[in-house]
């Protein structure tokens, strides 16, 4: 495990080596994800119809002018699907980042200090994990009121315990190692030991997990919007678009665009996450 740090992404040579080691499916996943990120960053320059404007007759099937047809308000479904990425992708990033931050900090403290700190944090984790995720997210979102901000808060509440557990398990293992004992014996304070000698060796599972969860967060956000607890109309959010399409099933194209978008993101992150695990985590491969 000593070379784990050397192959972490971030260093150029490490990144290149990582790309070469990745299985082809993971590469496809990475490319799809890059496509969506590129879309988010450049969508405003694309020659697309305004996703909030009526551009044609309502409920028109796909045509050359409207690649994925028009919805019940005569808006271009393709344009709305592409613009939907601006809602879903950054929110998924934000939610995963917050969950990783909160979960990792609490998990590291829990694992490193043990005792009552560990007790309190882990019981909190147990309570949160005891609820099915969608149910807990619904309860929180319903309590705070609909809206993407509140849905994001709900999702962070649902997700942080995974990272707390992951980080705690890693810290528990690493803190027993000899170099840590040496550092403590050398007189380093506990926070310094945790920061310099323990944490750098604990990030791999978290990174793999965060990649895979990214798609799941997109899915949960869409689910919350689908049941009316996420994005508010008229935002072209994927879940609420599918919800609009579900009541007009014969106009299949309304739900098709956002459905495919969600599918590609979830698949891409699963592929990429699997690939990363194959490269980094030797125990499971």
């Amino acid at each position: 495990m000593a070379d784990t740090t050397a192959s972490l992404p971030g260093q150029t040579s490490g990144a290149m080596r990582l790309v070469r080691k990745l299985p082809p499916t993971a590469m496809i996943g990475a490319l799809i994800l890059l496509f969506w990120i590129f879309t988010v960053l450049t969508i405003q320059f694309w020659p697309l119809a305004n996703p909030l404007d009526m551009v044609g007759r309502r409920l028109q099937p796909p045509s050359a002018a409207h690649w994925l047809g028009t919805d019940a308000l005569g808006r271009d479904v393709f344009s709305r699907t592409m613009h939907g990425a601006v809602w879903s992708i950054p929110i998924a990033f934000l939610v995963v980042a917050c969950a990783v931050a909160v979960g990792s900090v609490l998990g590291a403290l829990s694992g490193f200090f043990g005792g009552w700190t560990d007790g309190i944090i882990m019981r909190l984790v147990d309570v949160t994990v005891a609820f099915p995720p969608i149910l807990l997210a619904m309860a929180v979102a319903a309590m705070l009121g609909p809206g993407l901000t509140n849905a994001s808060v709900a999702m962070v509440i649902v997700w942080w315990p995974i990272y707390a557990r992951l980080m705690r398990a890693q810290v528990l293992e690493v803190k027993e190692r000899e170099h840590v004992e040496a550092a403590i014996a050398g007189g380093a304070g506990p926070l310094r030991v945790l920061r310099v000698h323990v944490l750098p060796l604990c990030w791999t599972p978290t990174l793999i997990n965060a990649t895979m969860d990214f798609g799941q967060v997109v899915l949960l956000a869409a689910s919350l919007s689908f049941i009316g607890l996420g994005a508010k109309p008229p935002s072209p959010e994927w879940g609420s678009m599918i919800s609009e399409g579900a009541t007009r099933f014969y106009s299949w194209w309304i739900a098709f665009g956002p459905g495919m978008a969600i599918l590609t993101v979830v698949l891409a992150t699963s592929f990429l996450g699997d690939g990363l695990r194959d490269v980094f985590d030797r125990r499971s491969s």
């Binding site: 309502r58 319903a142 009121g145 798609g215 109309p233 008229p234 014969y250």
Partner: protein, 528 residues
């Protein structure tokens, strides 16, 4: 939390992108009539029930004194063969025919008196139908007389509502039903009514399982023409698309809640669809009593906003043009609506009026139930309003809510704009004034003012309403016409669309029609 795997992710993705559900397989071509609908049953006790499903269930199982004819206007005899009233319209006498309840006992004046007293004293949702009843008395076993506290030219129409169905009092009393003034607290019969019925109608309740199935059996002892089906099953199918699929595959004989768009996509030659005008409507309501809105949402601003809505476009976007515009909050075709002209879209005038009223940078929030009613998706409807308001320089934020949250926030005046729907309980315009009139103490006056009645009360409406109740025929119609005009000028309730109704059924079924009192009269339906 369990770790998500690729497989689970895929499954979830497919689930999220499909809304298919498999309806239960049911027999077809048999002696059983199967109806698909999303049931909204709150109770099966005539004096407590208040829902669209209740309307046709109660009509099939209980019978009213008078009912509405097939023209949806004329009152025709039902349990009563004839009736008289005094000139003041305060005393009504009914002569009963020789009908029998399902257990064979005769329908007598005492049952009618007991049922009406109970309806009033239970203080349930439908109690407003008889709220001006002072006394109901048995003149002889076949004659009953009602006395009202004030003139009411619509009393006959009101008691054609299915909720006034006559109950077999001897049977119901044995199971805890009461008719006294303490009935609201002490009546314990509601659970019994969910499993049994005690009416004189052509059907009897067989079983009811909430959110699943309502089963009725033919009343073989019916005194009149017996029903064509030995059993009627109402099966719970949530959405229009699933209902249409069940109809196309022959799992159901009638689908009650198909919207015109879905109806247009039905391809099976065995399915018949008819599109008929309905008396239902969806409307937007302004709440000037909402927080911080007292000096913002003035009558001038409300009238300006009412002109900023593209009503024709609204009709197209919500129901694909399958509906009608409606002027006042009284449905087209009801007394007094004949000469009311719906508003026309006039963006320039709206902008000018807003500027005159000093309403610049107006920002409003609309809270509404996130629902799809009578084929109208409220989200689509309110997005259209949002687009139209934006053209007039008014920003409208949309807040789709669950029903429970909507009700709470409405009562608290959290937002100044909302959207709801309304369906008639009988043929007559008084129910609309009673609900939408800007008269002190009335439900919508309370909602719009959030309790501060003077903010919205229109002093012209109270006397007009009294006048309407005192007169009948053309005079009453004239009074309702004036009331309609007043309610339009209030610009509190803006009817957006009166959606058409789709009657969709297998082609071997006949006798399906829409009734303003009773929704779907089951006893008239048969198989060819």
């Amino acid at each position: 939390m369990k770790h998500f795997t690729l497989k689970r992710g895929l499954a979830a993705a497919f689930l999220a992108s499909s809304a298919l559900m498999a309806p239960p397989a049911l027999a077809q071509g048999s002696d059983t009539l199967v109806i698909a609908r999303s049931m909204d049953v709150n109770s099966l006790d005539p004096a407590r029930a208040f829902c669209d499903t209740c309307q046709f269930y109660l009509t099939a199982v209980y019978e009213t004194l008078v009912t509405l004819g097939a023209d949806n206007k004329t009152l025709v005899p039902n349990l009563a063969t004839s009736w008289e009233m005094n000139d003041d319209l305060t005393e009504f006498t009914f002569h009963l025919k020789d009908a029998t309840f399902a257990d064979g006992s005769p329908v007598e004046a005492k049952d009618v008196v007991w049922s009406m007293e109970r309806l009033k004293n239970l203080k349930g949702s439908p109690s407003f139908l008889v709220d001006d009843l002072v006394s109901a008395e048995e003149v002889d076993p076949k004659t009953v007389k009602f006395t009202l506290g004030a003139s009411n030219s619509e009393f006959l129409n009101k008691i054609s509502a299915a909720y006034t169905g006559v109950i077999n009092s001897d049977v119901a009393k044995e199971h805890g039903a009461l008719d006294g003034v303490d009935a609201a607290e002490k009546d314990s019969s509601e659970p019994w009514f969910l499993e049994n019925s005690a009416g004189s109608g052509p059907f009897m309740l067989k079983s009811y399982s909430p959110e699943a199935e309502l089963r009725m059996a033919r009343n073989d002892a019916y005194y009149g023409d017996k029903a064509a089906f030995s059993e009627v099953v109402v099966t719970q199918i949530q959405d229009a698309v699933s209902q249409a699929q069940a109809l196309e595959t022959g799992q159901v004989d009638i689908a009650m809640q198909i919207d015109p768009d879905t109806a247009a996509s039905i391809r099976s030659p065995d399915v018949k669809t008819e599109i008929v005008p309905s008396f239902n409507f969806v409307y937007m309501g302004f709440i000037p009593g909402a927080k911080g809105m007292k000096d913002v949402l003035t009558p001038e601003v409300r009238r300006a906003l009412a002109l900023a809505i593209d009503y024709e476009g609204m009709l197209d976007f919500t129901v694909g043009g399958n509906g009608a515009q409606q002027a006042a909050p009284i449905p087209n075709g009801f007394p007094g609506t004949e000469n009311l002209v719906p508003r026309t879209y006039d963006l320039e005038k709206a902008k000018a009026m807003l500027a005159d009223a000093g309403a610049t940078d107006l920002k409003l929030v609309a809270g509404y139930p996130n629902d799809n009613v009578y084929g109208v998706d409220f989200n689509i409807m309110m997005q259209k309003v949002q687009q139209d308001f934006a053209k007039a320089g008014v920003e409208l934020e949309l807040k789709p809510l669950t029903w429970a949250v909507w009700r709470d926030e409405l009562g608290a005046g959290e937002w100044p704009v909302t959207a709801v729907y309304y369906a008639p309980d009988y043929y007559g315009s008084a129910q609309y004034v009673q609900y939408f009139g800007m008269i002190d103490g009335y439900p919508w006056a309370k909602r719009a003012s959030v309790g501060d009645f003077p903010l919205v009360v229109n002093p012209a409406e109270g006397p007009l309403y009294e006048q309407a109740l005192r007169s009948s025929g053309a005079d009453a119609d004239a009074a309702y016409a004036k009331l309609g005009q007043q309610m339009m000028d209030d610009a509190i309730i803006l009817p957006l669309v009166s959606p058409n109704l789709v009657l969709a059924y297998r082609d071997d079924i006949e006798g399906v029609r829409y009734s303003a009192c009773c929704n779907l009269p089951l006893a008239e339906i048969s198989r060819k």
